[in-house]
């Protein structure tokens, strides 16, 4: 290295009273194999240096050796808590490059949105539940996992797998929804709504929880944008920015939903509580989307015996030579795929995945200077990272 990096300087300039402390990679509050190197002075965190890459599985290299359809299971394994959303983004990118995005049947689009929103709820339930357990509230975690299990069951029924679905395909779907899915899904929505109220009473408005999260880890909006934060992180800082509305992709323009933003109800705008609350509100909005989808799927887009979700599947996926960047709103934020195709083969020349968690995590050293170690846990939990996507 021809010059000292900032990391080397930080370590070299540690004061005698400061201590370097490793948090992770095997620590439950780091939500996976993340290692945070802390420079601490007593209980105060002077500097946080994240070390990532423990779960690196060469997604980009895999994608450069497989066809577009074969890569879909690999995208599922990036953000493994929201596999449907990942493959939806990937598939949309390929479809746009092929120019077939207008040919996709409406029923397929609505099923895609339906399963994506179910998966979004499941992902946010994990975020909410594990955030509770980070702070010290055990019960919400169990409640969230209990309710998430219903969604896992539903998606397993549709796709055959509990977490990694490979359900959304280029040009269509793996299968149509099973008979009775819509009714069962409606039952889940009716069951889940009162549970959400209970969850709010238990956690959202819990005084201890508020004390631990309000005014902690305040992320100002300009910092959030500069660090490339997206999703609930950005909206928690008060900006109405949702790619489902901005890019108007899939069936979203026809659906009604609000974009929740952080308002600073309990403290400053952009604190941990705001980010948490945005997720809770998004669950409510996702339920609204699901209800609208179900209504459409049961009425004008009803299942017919001759409907084949694989009818529009291209025989050979060879997009013409071009560069294309697709972005979509994942539960964690902006998920992007950058494709370079040569127009001759079924294998892309280069694929780059832009994970939302990767960028969201990069802001942690900025917002946790001078906080207590216990608050650092609260900040990390509120970022809601999935290491499968940070490391790819």
């Amino acid at each position: 290295m021809p010059y000292a990096t900032r990391y080397e300087e930080l370590i070299a300039n540690t004061e005698p009273q400061e201590m370097i402390l490793n948090m992770g990679p095997q620590h439950p509050s780091t939500h996976g194999v993340l290692r945070l190197e802390l420079i601490t002075d007593g209980e105060v965190v002077k500097e946080v240096i994240p070390h990532i890459g423990y779960l690196h599985r060469c997604f980009e290299n895999h994608a450069e050796h497989l066809t577009y359809q074969q890569t879909i299971p690999f995208t599922d394994r990036m953000d493994y808590l929201a596999s449907m959303n990942n493959s939806h983004a990937w598939v949309m990118g390929v479809e746009r490059m092929m120019g077939i995005e207008k040919d996709i049947p409406k029923r397929v689009e609505y099923i895609r949105v339906l399963v994506c929103e179910l998966n979004r709820i499941a992902s946010h339930l994990i975020a909410i539940g594990t955030y509770g357990i980070d702070i010290g509230a055990f019960t919400p975690f169990l409640w969230c996992f209990r309710d998430r299990e219903h969604i896992m069951g539903l998606l397993e029924w549709a796709s055959g797998a509990r977490m990694l679905y490979n359900y959304i395909w280029v040009g269509g779907l793996f299968y149509d929804l099973p008979i009775g899915f819509e009714e069962r899904c409606k039952e889940f929505v009716d069951y889940f709504k009162p549970k959400l109220k209970e969850l709010n009473e238990l956690l959202t408005n819990n005084q201890i929880f508020i004390e631990r999260t309000a005014n902690v880890g305040v992320l100002p909006l300009d910092v959030a944008i500069n660090y490339g934060c997206s999703g609930p992180m950005l909206r928690g800082s008060g900006l109405k920015w949702d790619l489902r509305r901005v890019d108007e992709y899939s069936a979203y323009p026809e659906l009604e939903f609000e974009i929740p933003v952080g308002k600073g109800e309990m403290g400053a705008v952009g604190d941990c509580w705001d980010r948490y609350k945005v997720r809770v509100d998004e669950v409510v909005e996702s339920l609204r989307i699901i209800e609208q989808c179900l209504e459409r799927l049961q009425k004008e887009l009803k299942r017919t015996p001759d409907f084949d979700p694989r009818a529009k599947l291209p025989k050979k996926i060879i997009p013409k030579a071009q560069d294309f960047y697709i972005r979509a709103e994942n539960p964690k934020g902006e998920l992007g795929f950058y494709f370079i195709t040569d127009g001759r083969t079924e294998i892309p020349k280069r694929v780059k995945a832009r994970g939302p968690s990767f960028n969201n995590l990069s802001v942690i050293s900025e917002i946790s200077r001078g906080v207590l170690i216990a608050d650092l846990i609260a900040i990390l939990g509120s970022i809601d990272i999935v290491l499968g996507e940070v490391d790819r």
Partner: protein
């Protein structure tokens, strides 16, 4: 602002030689910027009231393959107030055999998020970003040898004496 207006703005501000070429065949047009002006161009696009590309969506390095021996860095910019997107590219030739890394200016002074993206590009493709304050490997271990996403990369047989099975 449309793509052509942005092009005019850059030509007016920096002179015509700043844009080496443009790609307009695909769905998303791209501007190829001279490699010694990329930071200035990005700063202008970031701060100008008419463009205001305040969000760096993605930064990727691309190895063009063994025949071309070119390395490019691709910037995907997004403007939150205008809801527009723009692709910039820096393309340069490099000599695989020499062992020296292709050098590109860092844009981490314009967008902080570029810092990690550039570290990733350095890690996986071996592009040196001049001006990045913390250019270390990010996904691979610090003592890893080679740049795995380069087209001439030979898969490592062992790491620190440990045989790698695959």
């Amino acid at each position: 602002m449309t793509f052509d207006e942005i092009k005019d703005l850059l030509v007016k501000r920096f002179g015509p030689e700043v844009i080496e070429a443009e790609e307009t065949t695909g769905l998303q047009p791209a501007l190829i910027i001279r490699k010694d002006r990329i930071t200035a161009v990005c700063l202008e696009l970031r701060t100008n009231d008419q463009t205001y590309f305040d969000f760096l969506s993605c930064l990727s390095a691309v190895d063009h393959g063994l025949e071309e021996n070119k390395m490019s860095v691709v910037y995907h910019l997004a403007s939150i107030p205008y809801k527009t997107q723009l692709t910039l590219k820096v393309v340069q030739e490099f000599d695989r055999t020499s062992g020296s890394l292709p050098i590109c200016q860092s844009v981490s002074s314009v967008w902080k998020t570029a810092e990690w993206h550039e570290r990733e590009a350095y890690d996986l493709l071996g592009v040196f970003f001049d001006g990045n304050p913390d250019l270390r490997r990010i996904l691979l271990p610090d003592d890893w040898e080679g740049y795995p996403l380069r087209k001439d990369y030979k898969t490592a047989a062992e790491y620190n004496g440990i045989k790698i099975d695959f």
